[in-house]
Amino acid sequence: MAENEPKILSFLCNWCSYGAADLAGVSRMEYPPNIRVIRIPCTGRMSPKFILAGLRQGADAVWVSG
């Protein structure tokens, strides 16, 4: 692989960022393909466990968005 293609584990809130991601898709906007989205019911569902589990299993970075 010539270029560094990191995997960014993304935790997106169902009502906020997930909606934004959906809208971005519907509006045919372009954004980097490096994010791997996990939809969570609310950012309140987030736990430090998830972040560490993600990093442990090889994610390059973790992004939490509400």
Binding site: A20, D22, L23, P32, I51, G58
Partner: protein, 57 residues
């Protein structure tokens, strides 16, 4: 969360938080692009906290 992980040696660019409303698709694209660029700039070999398989002699 971020503070302790960085305290124990995680690179600052490897954990991000943001706040985007469901109407802000432009902001979403902006943030994704920014984060991806930032993570790309990091050395991929320098991943910390990755579980390694036990070494067998």
């Amino acid at each position: 969360m971020k503070n302790l992980l960085e305290h124990t040696g995680l690179e600052p660019g490897r954990l991000h938080f943001s706040w985007i409303s469901s109407a802000e698709s432009t902001k979403f694209v902006d943030v994704v692009t920014k984060i991806t660029d930032e993570v790309k700039a990091l050395d991929p070999a320098n991943k910390k906290y990755v579980k390694t398989e036990p070494k067998v002699d």
